[in-house]
C-alpha cells in the first residue's frame, strides 16, 4: 500500500476547461503520490481525455493549476513535461519508422542523454515485450503491438508520472492482461493515471479511483473505500428450500435480506460483522438446501451506475 509520506508527484487544483459556452471540465482536482495508480473513470464525454490533455500540457486550462513533482506545468512547461509520459487515446505513432527507431526518437525528444539512451530504449522495449518486433515497421504491427509501442514511448524516459488514456482499448483479452501486468509494474516506480471505462480493470489495477461525470468529480477514494461506499458488504445466497425472509434477516449481523430471484437471496451486512458461519449452521440444521454462497462486494459498477445516474436526475 501507499506510503503516507511518499512524495506528491501530480497536483492539480481546480482545473476547468470551457469550449465556448460548454464546460467540458469543471474544477477537477487531482493529487497523486509516487507509487500510486489512479483510475480515472467516467462515461463517454465525462471530460477524462480533456483532463488528461490538461495534465500533460497539450491543452491549456481555462483556470486551475497543475504541478508535476513541484514544478508548475504552465510556468515551466519544459521542465514539467520532462517528468511526464503520456499515451493519448490514439497512440501518436509514426508508421514509417521501425519500433526501435521510434522509441529512440521518443527518448531523444524527451532529452534522454546519449550515453544512457540505448539502454533506456532497450529497457522500454523489454518491459513492453517488444524486443522481437524491434526492427519491424510500426505500420505493419497489429493493434496490440502498436498499443505497446505507445506505452514504450511513454515510459522510455523513466518519467515520474505516466498518464495512459484508455491503454487497453481494442486489445484481445490476453493482451489486456499483459498490459495490466505492465501497468502494475509501472505503478511500483512511477505514479500512473489511467483512464478507462472497463471497471474490472480499475478494480484489479488501481489503488485509487476518481469518477468523473459531466466534467466534475463525483467520487474519489481508494478502492477499499469504494467497496464500502455503497451499502457495505453483501452475500449472495442460493437456497433450494428457503425459509421466510424474516428468518434470514434475523441472523445476527444481517442488516437487510432481499429475495432477488426464486431461490436467490442477497444479504447485506454491516462492516466488521460476518454472518456467513451462522448462516451456514442454520442452513444445515434446518435443511434450507444451501447450493450457493458467494461473497458479493458492492462492485465498482454499482457505484459507477449509482453515481452517474444520480447526477443525471
Amino acid at each position: 500500500m501507499t506510503d503516507q509520506t511518499a512524495e506528491i508527484t501530480v497536483s492539480a487544483q481546480g482545473l476547468s476547461r470551457r469550449f465556448g459556452a460548454h464546460a467540458a471540465v469543471e474544477r477537477v482536482s487531482i493529487e497523486l503520490k509516487r507509487g500510486e495508480i489512479l483510475g480515472f473513470l467516467g462515461p463517454n464525454g465525462a471530460g477524462k481525455t480533456t483532463t488528461m490533455q490538461m495534465l500533460t500540457g497539450n491543452l491549456a486550462p481555462s483556470s486551475g493549476a497543475v504541478s508535476i513533482c513541484g514544478v508548475d506545468l504552465f510556468e515551466h512547461p519544459v521542465a514539467a513535461k520532462a517528468r511526464i509520459g503520456y499515451l493519448p487515446e490514439t497512440p501518436p505513432l509514426y508508421r514509417e519508422l521501425t519500433v526501435r527507431e521510434y522509441v529512440d526518437l521518443a527518448a531523444r525528444l524527451h532529452r534522454v542523454a546519449k550515453p544512457a539512451r540505448a539502454a533506456a530504449v532497450d529497457d522500454a522495449l523489454v518491459r513492453c515485450g517488444l524486443t522481437e518486433v524491434a526492427l519491424k515497421l510500426i505500420g505493419t504491427l497489429s493493434k496490440g503491438y502498436q498499443q505497446r509501442v505507445g506505452i514504450a514511448q511513454a515510459i522510455v524516459h523513466r518519467p515520474d508520472v505516466v498518464i495512459l488514456d484508455e491503454p487497453t482499448i481494442g486489445l484481445d483479452p490476453i493482451q489486456v492482461r499483459e498490459i495490466r501486468t505492465l501497468i502494475r509494474e509501472l505503478g511500483a516506480h512511477h505514479s500512473v493515471i489511467l483512464s478507462t471505462h472497463i471497471l474490472p480493470e480499475v478494480e484489479s489495477v488501481c489503488d485509487r479511483v476518481q469518477i468523473l461525470h459531466l466534467g466534475t468529480t463525483v467520487f474519489g477514494d481508494t478502492i477499499a473505500g469504494l467497496r464500502q461506499f455503497h451499502g457495505g458488504r453483501m452475500l449472495l445466497v442460493g437456497l433450494r428450500h428457503p425459509p421466510a425472509l424474516g428468518e434470514l434477516a434475523a441472523i445476527s449481523g444481517v442488516e437487510r435480506a432481499e429475495n432477488t430471484a426464486d431461490t436467490l437471496f442477497r444479504l447485506s451486512f454491516a462492516e466488521g460483522a460476518d454472518p456467513t458461519d451462522e448462516l451456514v449452521r442454520r442452513a444445515v440444521k434446518q435443511s434450507w438446501g444451501l447450493f450457493q454462497l458467494t461473497p458479493a462486494q458492492s462492485s465498482l459498477e454499482d457505484v459507477f451506475v449509482h453515481l452517474t445516474r444520480k447526477e443525471e436526475q
Binding site: 491549456a60 519544459v78 513535461k81 520532462a82 509514426y94 519508422l97
Partner: protein, 256 residues
Amino acid sequence: MIFTIAGKELKALFASPLAWVMLTFMQIILAFGFLRQLDDFMQIQPQLIRVPNPPGITELVVAPLFSTIAVVLLFAIPLLAMRLIAEERRNQTLVLLLSAPLSMTEIVLGKFIGLMAFLLLIIGIAAVMPLALLFGGSLDFGLLASLIIGLVLLAACFAAVALYASCLTAHPLAAAMIAFGLLLGMLFAGDAAAEGLRSRGWQVPAALAQVLSPLKNFEPFTKGMLDSYSVTCLLLLIVVFLILAIRRLDAARLRG
C-alpha cells in the same frame, strides 16, 4: 533538439514517395530547361563574339535556369511542406511533440530546418548542373554564388509561408492550397502595390510593399547583385512567418 526533429522530418520525407517523385521531376524539368538554354546559347554564340563585352554563359544559361528553379519551387514547396504540421495533426502524432519537453519554437524550427535540408539538396543538385560547363569553358563564380544564396533565401521564404499554412489546418492538401494561394497572392499584391505606389512617387510605401514579393526580391540575385534591401526583405518574411507559425501552434493549445 531542433536537429532531432529536423532529422525525423527528413527521414519522413524520404520514407514517402513524394520526395522521390519530386526529386525526379525536378531533375527532369531542370535538365530539360538547362539543355534548352544551352542550345539557345550555342546558336547566338557566333553573334555574341561580335558584341563588345558580351554576356557570359553564366548570365545567359545559369541565371535563367535558376529563375526556372525559383518558379518550380513555388509549386513544389507547398506540396513538400503541407504534411509538416497538418499531417501530424490528422494522424494525431503531433501529441508526441507537444507532450515532449520542447518549446513551440523548437518544434517549428526543427520542422523548418528539416524541410530546408531537403530543399538545399534540390538546390545543390541544381547547382551541380552548371558545373558541367566547366569542361568547355569558364563560369562566373561570383554570379553563381549570388544565385545560390538568392535561391536558398527564396526557398526558405516559401518554406516559412508553407509551414505557417500547414499549421492552419489538419488537411495536408488544404494546407498546400493555402500555401500556394498565400504565395501567389503575396507575389501579385506585392508587385502590383509596389508598381502603383512607385508610379505615384511614393518610394517608401513602395519599398514596404515590395517586402511581400519574394520573387521580385530574388531578381537582384540573378544579376549577381547582393542587394542588402532584398536580403532584408526575404529574411524579414522568413522570420515573420516562422513567428506566425509558432504563435498559431500555441493558440491551438489555448483554444483546443
